[in-house]
Amino acid sequence: MTKTKLATAVLVLIFLLSAAYVATHIASDVDTNILSLLPGDRHNPVLSDAMQKASEDASNRVAFAIEGGTFDERHKAAERLSSALLESGLFRSSSDDGKTLWQWLFVHRTQMLCPADREKLRSEQGTVVARDAMVQWYAPMGGGSAALLKTDPLLLTNRLLGCLMPSNIHLLTHPDAEIISGIITAPVYRLDVQDRIATVVAKWTKDTAAQSLTLSRAGAIFHAAYGATHARSEMSVIGSITTFAVLLFYWMMFRSFRAPLIAVSMVVFSLTIGLAAALIIFGSIHAMALVFGAALIGMVVDYTTYYLVTGLADPDRTFAARRAQIVTPLTLGMVTSVGAFAALLFFPVPAFRQIAILGSVGLATAWAATLLLTPLVEGGAMRVGPGARWTKDVAGQFLARHPSKRLSVMVIVASIVVMLLGAWQGHTLDNVKKFQAPSTELVKEEARIRALTGFAPSSTFFLVRGETRDSATAHEEHLLQALHANGDESAVTWAASRFDPSLKQRQSDTILIRNALLIPQLKGMLASLGGGNPASYEPAEVSAKKADTMPPDFVNGLRGRSGNQYWSIVPVSHPIADMPDSPFVVYVEPAERYSELLGGYRRLATWGLVGAVALTGLMLLGYYRRLSALRILLPTMVALIVTPAITALAGLPYSFFSAMGLFLVAGAGVDYAIFQWENPGKAGSWTRVGIILAAAMTCISVGLLGLSSVLPVRSFGSTVALGVFLSLILSPFVRGWSEDAVSGEGQ
């Protein structure tokens, strides 16, 4: 077996394994969280982890409200939906949290106090607490029961629950609505999780269609599903139109559907291996990486096109001769493109690293497949189609020209003017809140649930840290005390330290409860009641269940640890007037933090582009060993400068994602320039047809991303399409300029 055959066999084997891997993982390993597109901040791991946890904690919560119909209809419909959600294995009802919370407070009832009760006991007002309990015992429909008479006659658990529960949370079912609330127990940004929950809701909707019931939903999973549906729809449209364009263009060029079949096969072949590599390395892939992957179709097709076009020039040449004609520019172009993609690996955004692997592996595979597989499946050279002849005679002529000095000056002046106008009129955008407009229907449904339940999720929080769990809890207690002193305590809905205080606070409260309440009040109160257990608060009685009791999940959800740092988050529901000053506390607004990071990475990406261009220049100098080879960079450099200016003048702000698009422009643009450099004059006439066809494919497939509803995708698509187009029409500048414009083919 020759080396070529062996390499071909290995390539095919890799494809088969990749196809099997992708087929078994693609359904469950697609991430649709838009926050995954944002840069992580590993300079501050505590802050990064806290923001991640706050996001996860908030995003896993879901609520449903069923309204309309009769009570029986609502009640039965709610039971049906609740059962179906539980049967899916992805849902845990929040009523379980309530039971855990009651048990937790019950076993710690002699160790914890509400702030107001702490003040009462410190000022020797234990009688007030005892009297409140007596009032409850005597009250019609009061809170006492025979079981509590034995274990908690002072009704301390009721008291704790009453003061620790946020005042805006409705505990009782709304008379006109059934509420189901809980946690999604699997990652809500996974497509398969979204699909399974959507299936449950759709079946419920179908089953209850005959009743006049309405369903409102709240939760990040529904927004993620909405975004994913859009992404899938966009991918479908982009993929379909690109496929149609490929078929049409190839037929017009080669008068054969064999060519597009070969091209599509190469696309499937290359992207499957690229996708498998990304899935294996990262464990999952972001939906937006798949959308960007759709854009790669145009670039992958380029390589096949370059090879097939060599058959138009001289059908009688051997495979080896045709391959020899393109191997240098194709390899150089592939290396520079892969280099541009690989640069994305340096950005701390998982989705962009996935694109880097998908793109690099995909393009490298396309390169290998073009040189090894295409000759095997081509089955003979193609015929020259009407499009190919027109492209060669008209568009190709344009690319073959030596630009005149006058034109060159005009282009340079125009570029400077456009750049200045763009800088003057355009603006940058780093605000993550403007990336994707939410579904108006879902926003309306969430507002309805907020009105029914009183619950409003908060995205801002205090981050409290400490060297130990207990010190972090103590710092949180100091924060709450400071907020209380400033009159801002109501801004805090939940705080872990309220339910699980520090050791010092616990010891202090235990002594206070015993000395100011149990010893002076319990005996007399039981005598007045005429019953009850005098030993109900003895340590042995209290600690009997303690070992089996864990803090409620929501308390654990507010806490975390990064390395040796313990931390907790304290969600804040409305702005704080006076910010407490503490070295252990920081106020965090995630959207602003992400925007700051994104702005930083936008600047970094822009400088990275400068570095990538410089690196490409060094590679060209290293390969060609002459200074004039740097002219290869000229068209791409002008395109890189002018493209963001034109998009800015068109109203599209310059963002981190525009900068990412420019990386692809650098990769593809340098390819065209290398082919122009390598194939000057008449000999390169069919090569220029290949360049035009390749650029057109990229512009169509990526340009359609410019229609996306998601700003990052829209910025990326518009930037790449315009940049590639400019790189193409400016590619004749690789030849330098002459006093007068002359046809390159005339040389």
């Binding site: 009651w102 009032v135 009250a139 019609p140």
Partner: protein
Amino acid sequence: MNATGLVRKAGALPILLMGVSLATGATACPSPEALNTEAFNRAFTQEKFMAGMDHPLRSSGRLVAHDNEIVWHMLTPFDVKTTITPQGISQSIDGGASANVGTGASEISTSLARSLAAMMRGEWNSLKSIFAVTLPSEMGEGDWTVRLNPLDDRLKALLGSITVRGCQDVSTVDIKRPDGDHEHIQFDAAAS
């Protein structure tokens, strides 16, 4: 969650005492659905029977309702006046100044207070959003009986079943809890 624990300060919710039913064996009572009292002011006595208690817990006071305001005033053994309006719930102890009570955990108390006021007014249809209401299928001689079973599981665990008896007006309310405890509330006759 132990639903019993959700009720705070429910002891401040006095119930009007009504006189012994005017109904006698010889007088036919109107249907409970004909009971329609917009405003009332009734005295009540209540006895709560619990396992482990030497004697029942006895309290008394007045229940007053007019427009959208409900006032529960327990007079003995404690003087606690609770006022419930659509704007919120406030409480006064021993005739002192009223203080607002948080709406969180006391929400159930408020709901129960409103429910009892609705029972006194004979607003059975409005109670159907919270209870399964069983009205007498046909009126015989003597008092009528209406049974209410909470629809909400937490309320069911807290209250158990409720039986309302009366003739011209509500005379007694009996609450039988799932754990065997029970309450008997008796109302004085309505002032004519």
